[in-house]
Symmetry: C2
Subunit: 277 residues, 2 copies
């Protein structure tokens, strides 16, 4: 099954960090003017602002607020820091509710001073601890498996299979998974795991970008769809075949692209979305 043509922008969401040089007000205005329908808000974009009013401003521009990025970082050898992380996640849930989004993306964390098994256990315990607050606030939590090159400090959840297993173990309608092509494109089990994820009702989000060849930086050298080697269209076809009909979220961190004129970059994003996603 091939991916359906993206004839309009009704499913296009852009993360605020993708156009990092713009503040959230500028991003919202320009996204909206370009016909983009969704925005995912990174917490740094909300700094110094009234969150409720900012949420209203985004909605006034006709934007759906797809999610808040990011909660997580549950894994830490130090118990006090694990507690601090839980507090921060509860704060994120409050912020999400104030903003008026229904989802938080979780970058789960990993502590290089302990085993991945220990980090994984702490992640599961951490999510379990915040589920009641999430349920009470009507906020969904999306576990985002991160590329294995981030297993040292960013996430000990590195495959969709692990994220699926954890979401199933946590067994709450508020807990699911965010699939990001950048993190998972290499996985030989990606297609069946996407199907499994969606079948359990856990496929909450779908993030797109590309893997540059060569990649110059472990964190800040993502490419625009079509610039690299990820079969974005093919993976989108799997996500669609599995029943996903949410937003396709463009999440790019790129020192190179952030240096470009962001209005031109936004045009390129839309073109890459329509032609290569």
């Amino acid at each position: 099954m091939s991916a359906k043509p993206l004839t309009d922008l009704s499913q296009l969401c852009i993360h605020t960090i993708t156009t990092k040089p713009w503040n959230i007000e500028t991003a919202a205005h320009n996204f909206s003017a370009a016909g983009v329908k969704g925005i995912t808000v990174w917490r740094d974009a909300l700094e110094g602002r009234n969150i409720r009013q900012t949420g209203q401003l985004l909605r006034d521009q006709g934007l759906s607020i797809v999610s808040l990025c990011r909660g997580g970082f549950f894994a830490n050898q130090d118990k006090t820091r694990r507690r601090t992380a839980l507090d921060d996640n509860r704060k994120a849930i409050e912020e999400a509710a104030e903003l008026g989004t229904s989802m938080i993306v979780l970058v789960c964390g990993s502590d290089p001073a302990q085993s991945l098994d220990d980090s994984r256990k702490q992640i599961q315990d951490g999510i379990a601890a915040i589920v009641p607050a999430a349920v009470a606030a009507g906020i969904k939590l999306a576990i985002e498996p991160l590329h294995p090159m981030y297993a040292d400090t960013r996430s000990a959840i590195n495959t969709l299979s692990q994220a699926n297993a954890m979401a199933s173990a946590l067994n709450s309608p508020s807990v699911g998974v965010a699939v990001d092509v950048y993190h998972l494109w290499w996985d030989p089990h990606l297609e069946p795991e996407i199907k499994l994820c969606s079948g359990k009702g856990h496929l909450f989000a779908f993030h797109i970008c590309d893997w540059n060849v060569p990649t110059q930086d472990l964190l800040l050298d993502r490419g625009l769809m079509g610039e690299g080697c990820i079969p974005v269209k093919k993976i989108r076809s799997w996500v669609e075949a599995a029943g996903f009909n949410g937003f396709y979220e463009v999440e790019i961190f790129s020192n190179k692209l952030w240096k470009d004129d962001q209005s031109q970059f936004l045009k390129k994003i839309i073109k890459a979305y329509q032609e290569n996603s």
Copy 2:
């Protein structure tokens, strides 16, 4: 089960690329003088040399020649280039025989211009094509699964599970697997896959180093054992419990460590081997 103490250097092998600033003659002399028992030879170290004589020189220093690095790069959209790769692998088999080693490590390749599935199929076909030459020469071929961050151009085989499946499919006593902690440490299935690999008689080689936190470069920032977050001792205990009793090969690419005085670095390698491996 914990790893047995490494009370001597009888299982220590060092790759020529680890002390890249030294030519192979200097490396062999210094490894031998320090009590190192094994050497793995990278093909660039043989340039401009009589391979047979170089092999003899290594043996004269009391060194076991553990393997030749590297064959592979079978995947290519272009049929002519795939044929060229086969020729190069047959040449590597001849070189290995001349050198007097019994094993070649395969970095299998990946072509970003085609799907990973296509690359994987070409890899399997490529290895199958060179098996007769390997068998005739008495050379074993070790498929090395590479970290997923190398899936774009270096290898479409990115987990031990994939390497195990391919070795089983190829079904030749000459084809097995090289386990490198750098590539595989993050894998939640690593321990059972090591057991499976060894149980099938496919565990041919074990490479060690460490994952620096943070890692500055995708290729040339590997750490010495103990400097990073890989549980090298724990993984070695899995390999030993699975029955492996070959060499522990120190394979480090590091712009930083190559700048150091290599005699001091060799001392550090031996200390890291005894204390953190």
